[in-house]
């Protein structure tokens, strides 16, 4: 071992002790002499497997998974019963549809898996360079083992998680972008592990690190770890050792699936299914009972003309009863249609294309349209009752503009870009009575702070993870201080006198949502060590000298009321000893293997104290396009909008006013730390009083819902701290459960604003509402990583393809480019999808009820012998061919009201709220309709068959003719019923409806026209043709179809006019007075309101 590294570097990422929760990696697979015996550790290889199946296990595994679905399993059981027991219908009748369903699903899943295989291969076969014994070896990515030393070049993606050992840059840094991981396109700096810089090839080291865990940001030495999926930038090449490979990389661990969301429609289907299962079982029971009652009469069970086989005679009576019961189940099982599941799936899958195809969702700025991540929830979009929206980036553009700043209580407002340095002028701030400006020195200190305290990078403009920072740096630029960039830990600033100032960047104390501030520690040329800190007022004020606060506080509050985002800036001189202490503290904390987060936080908090407040900044965040209109439309649609934001109350409140969530006459109920502050009272008591007061106001005193003539609008404001008080309060100390009270208040307010929310609290709120009485449908919309929790929690999660990365989009169910698209997504698409699928479901149950009911009734006339009324071909084809296409076309193209009309009249959305079309009322209507039709079909033909001589040559019809006549009436009636329901006849509807009927006629001729060699019985031979040759059959078909449809026609005519034109008339006449002014969103500045007067307390 000739190298310098004769001793083993223990890159002590976790101290010396070896724990079970850590892994030891031998760099370059070289054993360490100083260490104990070399045990080649076993880690997984670098293969990424996102696919589910291989060629070999596809069939069994896929089948297993498919039959785990309760519906498929049910049909499999029915099929098996048919195979085993002697049943009236051949196994083909249920086997064929089941086979079809299983095959289609298998093909779809197989295709998806093939795509995944392809993507996996692309990653796994990627060529990488491995350094092995001093040689460079090209390997496939999947062959990387933990401990391999890899070389990665510029613009390449890291093939696994690496510890950076060596960089081609002199300063031992490299830049990466994690755009594909979290969407942050800024360059992040990573550092080599100290002391490993020199000779990687002969480096002898072990690394001890944590076992793989998914948290992207909570990882060992984050500045040394390069994550798989990130891309190397601005660095020629690096060497690193693989620590986590394959499925253990952070990227792979982060792909863990979302929990499956189920739509309310699916729940309704399952409920209906249960009802139909009950009907099915009771039908079978009734028939079995009747059969044995009928058989008990002498001579009925076994007349001389119809003797049982020997086997039948010998079987046990109870076994016979059981098989009879099963046979009846099989005979009637068509009442629960397999095909409904296929059709629903197809409708959802195909229907979701209309969302991604919609050009109204296309945003020319980002060149993207809407994205549908799941098609299971299309109809849920039409059922939303609560919208939880993020503020920043969702309601607002997250496009920051520096508006003004305040230095030592003096207000500086930038007016004109063309003005000189002295255009840095002063307005009449309330505090600047003595001096016009703050001292020049203070000004420059403030501007330097803005220039230094950030993580912005310079590359063809500024790049940063947060747009605020760019706005601040740009703001400083306007006032003469330009940030030139960061080069090897040196920050350069061009100052007012065009001199370049250099600062050595010592530490960045990163921003986090808990601290709500960030700091940098820099050393100036003169050797001064300075800490600059910026952050939210609430997090800065307690940490600065109190005498400075008051001057600034007024500005900050005024700015916040104007709807600006404010940040306070503070600084602190660090003495050499202080710095050394901080420096060692930070280093130690960063290398900690456990509780790193907490340790770092402790050091941060320790450093960021006793600072001097310099000033504050105000940045405007513009409202999204049409944000106000969208919110108004949503409220018009009866949707309650809650704003959940991490922002300050004042800022958030002003945004709410700007979005017209709060209106001028809205009475604001405030439940915040401020209102809880009351002299001489405990906060808990005050909270109790307030809650009761608000509850009285909103719930008890509210006029009953029906007389909503002039009920007062309430807006509710709550902040994070108070919310946790409410949620964590134990119920024992009071008679009322705070949570319930709180929820009731919230639900009676038109809009609710929750500010100062941590991401987890956002999800908590969503969960609380989701689980409240009536389990309302919730929708969360957000754009940032902090919204992911609520997006995942809500019934429907919508991601905005905003500026804060892709995490929200990736975790969402639907992603849209802009907030304004939400209106069409809900009011247009959602409404239509709901109506379509609700009709689809009801229709399916209906058509199978009136399909099977005659078969059930026929049992009373054939000695309950399980004789099917229809031929097996008809039984099989009914749901697959004859009646499936029209309803599918309907459920894809129906627009009972045009989209424009839906968007114009938001109130239409209320009509389908609360699952209106799939509740028991409509279900009962459809069921009764089905029963009525079934009775008409069967008994109409029964009366006709009281004399079966129906042909003009005196010949008589048999049982198959009977079934065929009933079936013909059935097919025509259910299809025409759908035609009656169709309000939007495109050529496809015409084609499919008339085509299905024509196909039925054609098929019947064909099926009856040939002696099929594979059939044991030629039951339908020329039955259909003979039927058509009988005038009576024609007449009975016509009159029964008409009779069946009569109530339907009557119902359509007699209920409220529902055509689009009639509807328009109705809406105009009823809502004519409340015409909403369609003015564009006014800038926040223009808003003047006295929120104090509106606020209770």
């Amino acid at each position: 071992l000739s190298s310098l590294f004769t001793t083993t570097d223990r890159c002590s990422f976790g101290g010396e002790d070896r724990r079970v929760g850590s892994r030891t990696i031998y760099v370059g697979h070289r054993p360490c002499p100083a260490n104990e015996v070399f045990i080649p550790p076993k880690f997984c290889d670098n293969r990424i497997v996102s696919s589910k199946y291989t060629v070999w296990n596809f069939l069994p595994k896929n089948l297993f998974e498919q039959f785990r679905r309760i519906a498929n399993f049910y049909f499999l059981i029915i099929f098996l019963v048919q195979v085993i027991v002697d049943t009236p219908t051949s196994p083909v009748t249920s086997g064929l549809p089941l086979f079809f369903v299983i095959t289609v699903t298998a093909i779809k899943q197989g295709y998806e898996d093939w795509l995944r295989h392809k993507a996996d291969n692309e990653v796994n076969k990627y060529r990488v360079t491995v350094l092995e014994d001093g040689r460079r070896i090209q390997k496939e990515s999947e062959k990387i083992k933990v401990g391999d030393v890899l070389e990665v070049e510029e613009d390449e993606t890291f093939p696994c998680d690496l510890i950076l050992l060596q960089s081609s840059r002199d300063d031992g840094t490299c830049f990466v972008t994690t755009a594909s991981l979290d969407g942050e396109s800024n360059h992040k700096t990573h550092y080599t592990v100290p002391d490993t810089e020199r000779d990687v090839e002969s480096l002898n080291a072990t690394i001890e690190c944590e076992q793989p865990q998914p948290d992207l940001y909570k990882s060992l030495g984050p500045e040394n770890l390069l994550l798989k999926g990130a891309t190397l930038k601005n660095t020629q090449s690096i060497c690193g050792v693989a620590v986590y490979t394959g499925m253990e990389t952070k990227m792979a661990l982060n792909y863990q699936g979302k929990s499956q969301k189920r739509s309310v429609v699916e729940k309704s289907i399952n409920a209906f299914l249960l009802v139909y299962l009950c009907i099915l079982v009771s039908k079978a029971l009734v028939c079995t009972t009747l059969k044995y009652v009928w058989q008990s009469k002498p001579g009925q069970d076994e007349p001389w003309y119809n003797e049982k086989t020997l086997k039948e005679k010998e079987t046990n009576l109870y076994l016979n009863m059981f098989t009879d019961f099963l046979s009846f189940m099989v005979l009637f099982n068509f009442i629960i249609p397999v095909s409904m599941y296929v059709t629903v799936e197809m409708q959802k899958f195909l229907g979701s294309f209309f969302i991604s195809w919609d050009k109204d969702f296309f945003d020319s700025e980002i060149e993207e349209g809407a994205l549908v991540n799941t098609s299971d929830l299309n109809e849920e979009l039409g059922q939303v009752e609560y919208v939880f929206t993020d503020k920043t980036g969702t309601l607002t553009q997250n496009n920051m503009e520096f508006i003004e700043c305040c230095i030592d209580g003096h207000q500086y407002k930038y007016r004109d870009a063309s003005s000189e340095v002295d255009g840095f002028c002063v307005t009449d701030g309330p505090m600047n009575t003595v001096q016009q400006k703050a001292g020049r020195e203070r000004e420059e200190l403030f501007l330097r702070a803005l220039c230094l305290c950030h993580t912005v990078q310079v590359k063809e403009g500024f790049i940063a993870s947060s747009p605020d920072e760019i706005a601040l740096v740009q703001g400083a630029m306007r006032y003469g201080f330009t940030f030139l960039g960061l080069e090897s830990k040196t920050m350069k600033i061009l100052n007012r006198t065009n001199d370049v100032e250099m600062y050595e960047l010592l530490h960045v104390l990163n921003f986090d949502p808990v601290r709500r501030r960030m700091s940098v520690i820099v050393r100036s040329i003169s050797g001064e060590t300075l800490l600059f800190c910026k952050g939210a007022d609430s997090s800065i004020f307690p940490r600065v000298k109190q005498e400075e606060v008051e001057k600034i506080r007024m500005h900050v509050e005024r700015n916040a009321t104007d709807g600006y985002r404010t940040l306070c800036v503070a600084y602190k001189h660090l003495t050499a000893e202080e710095y050394d202490q901080v420096d060692s503290g930070l280093r130690e904390a960063r290398l900690a293997l456990q509780d790193r987060e907490e340790k770092l936080m402790a050091v941060y908090n320790q450093v960021e104290t006793g600072m001097n407040l310099i000033g504050a900044t105000a940045v405007e965040d513009r409202l999204q396009e049409e944000a106000a209109e969208t919110m108004e439309a949503l409220q018009g649609a009866g949707i309650k909008v809650w704003v959940l934001t991490g922002d300050k109350m004042e800022t958030a409140k002003s945004t709410c006013y700007a979005c017209r969530l709060f209106k001028r006459n809205t009475e604001l109920l405030e439940l915040t730390v401020r209102t809880l502050e009351s002299p001489g009272k405990r906060r808990e008591d005050r909270l109790h009083d307030l809650l009761l007061e608000y509850h009285k106001k909103t719930v008890q005193d509210a006029p009953p819902a029906k007389t909503c003539v002039a009920s007062q609008d309430y807006g509710f404001i709550v902040d994070g701290a108070t919310l946790s008080m409410v949620l964590n309060s134990s119920s024992e100390n009071n008679l009322h459960d705070y949570k319930d009270l709180f929820l009731q208040i919230c639900q009676n307010c038109t809009s609710v604003l929750c500010c100062r929310m941590a991401p987890l609290q956002k999800a908590q709120i969503v969960k609380m509402v989701k689980n409240s009485k009536g389990s309302p449908i919730t929708l969360s919309i957000g754009d940032g990583a902090n919204d992911v929790s609520m997006i995942l929690e809500a019934h429907v999660g919508i991601g905005i393809k905003g500026k804060e990365g892709r995490q929200a989009v990736r975790n969402s169910d639907y992603a849209i480019p802009k907030l304004k698209h939400l209106k069409k997504l809900l009011l247009g698409h959602g409404h239509l999808y709901y109506v379509r699928i609700a009709h689809l479901v009801q229709y399916f149950f209906y058509k199978n009820l009136c399909f099977i009911l005659p078969q059930f009734l026929y049992q009373f006339f054939c000695g309950c012998s399980q004789q099917p009324l229809y031929d097996a071909a008809y039984l099989t084809m009914y749901n697959i061919c004859f009646t499936s296409m029209p309803i599918l076309a309907y459920s894809l193209f129906e627009q009972h009201i045009s989209i424009e009309m839906l968007l114009e009249n938001a109130t239409l959305y209320r009509q389908i709220g609360k699952n209106a079309m799939l509740r028991w009322g409509p279900f009962l209507y459809w069921t009764l309709l089905g029963v009525f039709h079934g009775l008409v079909f069967f008994f109409g033909v029964w009366f006709l068959f009281s004399n079966p001589a129906l042909q003009d040559n005196g010949q008589a019809f048999g049982n198959w003719s009977y079934g065929t006549i009933v079936f013909t009436i059935l097919v025509f009636t259910v299809t025409l019923k759908l035609a009656l329901d169709t309000r939007h006849w495109t050529w496809i509807n015409h084609f499919v409806i008339w085509g299905s009927l024509a196909f039925y006629v054609f098929f019947s001729f064909f099926w009856g026209g040939v002696i099929w060699p594979f059939l044991r019985q030629q039951r339908l031979y020329f039955v259909f043709a003979n039927m058509l040759s009988s005038v009576s059959a024609w007449l009975v078909i016509i009159v029964l179809i008409l009779l069946s449809l009569l109530p339907e026609i009557l119902y359509v005519v007699l209920r409220k006019p529902r055509g689009p034109y009639a509807r328009q008339k109705l809406v105009q006449s009823s809502a004519g007075g409340i015409q909403s002014p369609r003015s564009s969103a006014r800038p926040l500045l223009m808003r003047t309101f006295s929120d104090e007067s509106n606020t209770v307390s």
Partner: protein
């Protein structure tokens, strides 16, 4: 550790591959086609009282006359029905019914007298009717072998299992097999007209044209290869309850013998309901103006072979004329008249509603 993370992935299923694949294609603007934008030109019918009203009246006006026509037609059909089961002791076939045994060589014959009050014009159709006879029982319906009946030679000697327990008699397979064939209706009905001087004149009964043409000519076929039916069926046994083998069903007419015997074919078309009638014979219309069956006394001579009392069944003989709508059935006429009247009535009601609604609507519109 590894296994658990692998499992976690299995649960989910949709990620990298699929999403990155779609991500690329989403980069271009969606096509502005009518189909993709859900803007296909469409006909949007509105069913309102106004548009449906005329339809109701039209339907009413069409259906009521049709109904009346049907009703009249049905009423004009002459039908005569007589039950000859022999349940009560005063009925002529009482003895035959009571003393029925399967193994008689001497058939029991009984005679029923009846009077037609009105003459039957044009062709008269003679049916036999059975009640409480479950030809639509599942065990019964499936107990046949259509391949055998179609002349398939292999099925002739090896009939389908569905025919059990009428598949084989000993070791010899039965032709035609199955319960349906076995229970072939085998009463012989002969009709005599008793004229004024009490002499019996036999009414000529035509036994052809009673089965569906396609059944007779395509679906049913005698075993191929041998024109001599006796030889063709030599390896088969007669059905248990038959008196004579299938090739002796109608020895007089080779076109009506064996499987293509029309009585047999008619029987093989199983009835829909437990009470049914089947065409037995046709009485052709005589030339000239004399009615086919003049009013007067008739005598029905029954060779009583078919027992029905064991299962409480009934046997009838029906004489009926036929119209273009088939046999006598007032149901269709009544149905049409009812539906037509309902439509007409609804039309009137709707007219009133429409009228009122319109008034309300216009009056509401005026102030706004």
């Amino acid at each position: 550790m590894m296994a658990s993370s692998y499992n976690a992935k299995e649960e989910d299923g949709h990620h990298s591959g699929a999403s990155s694949g779609t991500g690329l294609s989403k980069n271009k603007k969606p096509d502005n086609t009518a189909f993709k934008q859900q803007r296909l030109p469409a006909w949007q019918p509105i069913l309102t009282a106004g548009s449906v009203l005329p339809a109701f009246f039209v339907i009413g006006l069409i259906f009521i006359p049709i109904g009346i026509g049907l009703y009249v037609t049905s009423n004009n059909i002459k039908e005569f029905e007589i039950d000859y089961t022999g349940v009560s002791s005063d009925s002529p076939c009482y003895n035959c019914a009571k003393n029925f045994t399967w193994n008689t060589t001497e058939p029991c014959v009984c005679t029923v007298n009846f009077t037609l009050l009105q003459p039957f014009e044009s062709n008269v159709f003679m049916y036999y009717g059975l009640s409480n006879f479950y030809q639509n029982h599942r065990r019964y319906v499936k107990s046949r072998d259509d391949r055998q009946l179609n002349g398939d030679l292999s099925a002739l000697t090896d009939p389908s299992k569905e025919c059990e327990p009428y598949r084989k008699s000993g070791d010899v397979s039965i032709a035609p097999c199955g319960a349906i064939a076995n229970s072939l209706f085998n009463d012989t009905l002969v009709l005599y007209y008793v004229d004024s001087n009490n002499s019996k004149i036999e009414v000529p009964l035509v036994k052809k044209g009673i089965a569906w043409w396609t059944d007779k000519h395509v679906k049913f076929r005698n075993p191929a290869g041998n024109s001599n039916l006796t030889l063709a069926f030599r390896d088969t046994a007669k059905p248990v309850n038959w008196a004579k083998p299938v090739y002796e069903l109608d020895p007089s007419d080779p076109d009506n013998n064996g499987f293509i015997n029309e009585d047999f074919i008619v029987w093989m078309r199983t009835a829909a309901l437990p009470t049914f009638r089947k065409l037995y014979r046709i009485i052709q219309k005589k030339s000239g103006t004399t009615p086919t069956l003049p009013n007067g006394n008739y005598m029905l001579n029954i060779t009583y072979n078919y027992p029905v009392l064991s299962f409480d069944g009934r046997k009838r003989m029906i004489l009926s004329t036929i119209s273009w709508m088939g046999g006598k059935n007032p149901f269709l006429g009544i149905a049409y008249i009812t539906v037509g009247s309902i439509c007409f009535f609804l039309g009137v009601v709707l007219l009133i509603i429409h009228h009122k609604y319109d008034n309300r609507n216009t009056s509401a519109d005026i102030p706004s």
